[in-house]
Symmetry: D3
């Protein structure tokens, strides 16, 4: 099977991290992966979320919101009018939040809330994994800045985290699916993994199909290689941004 863009099964799409596209945010990254582009921006607020206060739980919080800009797809996708539930977005923003929180020490963060917004500028598959990968880079930059401003003493972010999709298409395991591959895949799996190689999330689903344990292992292997490469790239952009500002 030939992939649309001639990539080998185990190769990521071209990716890029453009820092500070949203100047009012504490930190922001425009992440791209093939044609997919997501604006990831971190804002902060010097208080705990309401539910932590009420329950008397110490420490801070990291929360994420995911949204598709109407022109990120063709044809145009309507904005969420009238507070109508968009189940997919809710699911994705919960996943992004959990992934980021798994590498942050909430006590070290202190009584503050970090908001991570992911707005999809162009959608061609893998928007949730790009959101996680871009957000983690933006969050790392945000933490550095809070330390430089003297707001934080130690860095609450223990390590980096990134995500990638893998799938099974025409029986073959593939890394980093574009939209057309994702649409036709028998199995779709999103893997979130830390810098140290531990899983944060593994979500594998077959809509009209099923998968065996062996197939799952093959897909997890591909994901692992891809994520390692993405984390190296995150490191480079974080260091570059922080060096420039210092």
């Amino acid at each position: 099977m030939q992939r649309e863009d001639q990539r080998a099964a185990n190769v990521l799409r071209p990716y890029r991290f453009v820092p500070d596209v949203a100047p009012q945010a504490l930190a922001s990254v425009l992440v791209s992966s093939g044609r997919t582009q997501v604006i990831c921006a971190v804002s902060h607020d010097d208080s705990q979320p309401q539910w932590k206060k009420i329950q008397g739980i110490p420490g801070g919080w990291v929360t994420a919101e995911y949204s598709m800009l109407p022109y990120c797809t063709f044809p145009r996708k309507k904005r969420n009018a009238n507070g109508k539930v968009d189940g997919r977005s809710v699911e994705i923003q919960r996943l992004i939040g959990r992934s980021l929180r798994s590498v942050v020490d909430m006590e070290a963060l202190g009584e503050r809330t970090l908001w991570v917004d992911c707005d999809v500028l162009c959608a061609d598959g893998g928007t949730r994994t790009a959101s996680i990968t871009g957000s983690a880079a933006a969050l790392a930059i945000a933490m550095q800045r809070l330390m430089q401003q003297g707001v934080l003493e130690t860095n609450p972010m223990r390590q980096l985290v990134a995500a990638v999709s893998v799938g099974k298409l025409q029986g073959e395991p593939l890394l980093d699916l574009c939209y057309v591959e994702d649409r036709d895949a028998e199995v779709d799996m999103n893997v979130v993994m830390t810098e140290r190689g531990e899983y944060v999330e593994v979500q594998g689903s077959g809509e009209e199909a099923v998968f065996t344990a062996a197939e799952m292992n093959e897909m997890l292997g591909l994901a692992s290689v891809g994520i390692r490469e993405l984390i190296a790239a995150q490191r480079r952009v974080i260091e570059k941004v922080c060096r420039e500002r210092a």
Copy 2:
């Protein structure tokens, strides 16, 4: 580590399937798993969903809705007022729907929609997996009845499907977590598997923790044993109900 109810790590909670609790539904099952109880009811409607009609896709559809009755927890949980998004419910009902559809042949179902409603009567952990397991039993009974009524010629449900939670608590892998175990677990994994032993969904997450490949494999092993037992129990209730009516 001693479990609250003295169960061994690889033992399911006591379960039960009570059929036909909702007489106006095509089929219904009150499933219980420990203290957790869910009403699973299947309704039908002799037309395709709107989106299938518009896109001209042949065949039927199976869709699920999940809701917690306000008195299923203590303290009481407010009903979803004002159409406010409850992210967790949206995520769960999407999972139930995907799980059921993975074992149904939509073409064989013909131009009809089956609605599967899961209303939690008592919540003590594992409501999403109990919903899948109870719904699959109710759906199988519904299919039999549509065949008996001459509405369907062949059974569109190819095999059964069931689900169970597994987790890692204090470093130890456990099968079928109750609420307290789930709340304290470092890792929480929901596994949906078919009668033939294939995965439909694997969703593993660590909120404040991570997990290794070896830990994941241990948990998947436990899940597999539990699901096999649940599917045998589903078979028994389905046969009993269908024999009685015949």
Copy 3:
């Protein structure tokens, strides 16, 4: 005129009260009346409602919510999506609340709120009156339990209350209408009455018809007989539950 189920005009449908179907609630009763079935569950909360606090009114409150489970009718009834107003449900839950409050001493209840949820599992006419009758039984059990727990010193529920529908069909007064009778009735009347035989609510309406004073009196007479029988049955289930627990 022959009734569908051969009942005489002044006979109730077979009824039943199954206690404690919802184990997390303070008290619950599954009430059935013919094919109609309603889950009535009482939850409690140790504070006054917000509006009583603001207005500085002492004492507690009893409030009711009524909802139809989607599979309680055929064809299936959609859940209340998007906070859309369902006028009929609003009207019914206000009636249930008023009926229960008429027999409760709010001062004796103290600064607490009792939530009474009525979820219709199967609808075949008379769901609002069954809800009142079932809720009153559940509320009486709840009060006993709060006394056993030492939360209450005296029982704030002064007496029982129950409800039944009566109507005029083809010119004839009938007790306890099923769905088909209710749909075809010229006049529909719901009567709520206490153990001592006083009215709490009398709601008689003719949608496309009217009724005379004489007809009203006949219908009220039938209602009175039916309610006396229902209250005796409530007494039995309450005593049985409270004896078992003691």
Copy 4:
């Protein structure tokens, strides 16, 4: 007991019907009863309501909406923001609609919808009964105009209908309660009656109290006298308006 405005127990408040306050409506009446004032306006639309079309039921429909203008009370009452349910308004507009429909022949109305809007300009008790009484007058004028315009051949409104509140205050039955009387009443009853003296609706409730059959009969007697007087006044304004236009 002395009433605030020195009225005898069986005397109505001063009432008035001002026609055609809303010139774009087919017919309108500003009804006042003591300080209470309601704008009742009838609009028409040359098609059946959607649900009649779908169900294939012939004939027209009369539907009502009830709303309180924010400055009809002191302090000001917020407008219904965000589609939030206001249970009381829903209940009232359902009652107004049923009352009007009981005297209209839907087949004779033909395939059209009449909208009756009741907007409360000043609230001092009895806004629902004033709405019914004012709306019935406006509807009768509207029917006359549709006949004058040649839209209708025969008058679908078979007779007039009016409503009044009665209650029990400090043990005494009173006709036509103002706000303060209504707030303090032990029992509150709304009676809707036709020109021929038949009941359309009888709604008696005790919030914290109950009432006997004898008390109910006394209250119904007072209501009957008041409604007869109101219907005579409706007749006068309808005739005056229709004579002027002819």
Copy 5:
């Protein structure tokens, strides 16, 4: 060009101010301009708006709400169901609020909120300008009453304000457009001006057309004449009302 009602291009429609149509309000005026009629009512509340409290800004606030009664147009206009956004109303109520606030000294008003409600009873063009003109009269009466009641020491309303529409129709500038003229106009301009002849708002728009500086000046000239006449009429009604009450 001949205007529908034979008016000259620089002549206002017949106008009228009827005071105190809403007796529970602090002050109210039914303003009419040709067929257009708007109820303008002022309510008060002895506290600052929430946002002023939070931001610690001293003084009071004046806020406006604009709404069309459903029968103010033919065919009937649906009420704003489900909190759906009606962009035009939002825009208009923001304009009314700004216009009134431009002539009120918020410090002198003290820590109170004045609510100005504008409900259109009959719409025939110019409802937003009639709302401003009627509201300013009602607000001036309200201020006098707060002074008479000893609530205010000095009058916070520095001067009157009124508004009128002007437009360009078939190339000709016209004062005070009725609905049909407004619908067909190439340019529509709303002008809000104070008693001292200063502009508060100038809003000129061409939907499918544009306008030159010279045309704008001509239209502003017409507006100025009309507004002067309206302010004189406001003065008369305010004085009459306040004299009567004194």
Copy 6:
């Protein structure tokens, strides 16, 4: 008076137009004006809007949506949850739509809808005028592309249009206000003008202040100079983009 960024009173902030930032859109421009940045994207759809179809009006439509990304301000601004009305956004998107439509020939556009989305990436005053100026450039590029694709035969966009804010601050007229200037200004005016120098919209308001005719003329003069410069810049970017693609 010295401006924050040392600009003279009649000088625009530095501006820039970056084309095609949203690759799935038909055309897009990231416009910046000082620190203010707005993504303007045009999508198309080959059918008329619903209301044009129903009313049988021929030709196409151009409609705009305006939204602030949550991180465009500090502190972060919540997304519009629950469909709550944000009056300011509604007002702005109506203005953008009217401005663009004033220069487009709807008949020449044919039966299609162009959606113009404006999402503010960074807000520092003048977001509505930047949105109009950026959208007009994106719309012109979109029209060229529809002609190159053979969808359109003639260009329905008759000329360019742009907008700028002017204001009065400490008595002095200023061109192109940044956020701090806008917040402190006594008068704020937004001017939309075509390439041929005609006005499309003039919106001048004083929140707590008023302005004279002379002051208005001064401000309009400044606006005219600024808009001419912006239209020249629009021309350059449109030509560059269209040449590159040809």
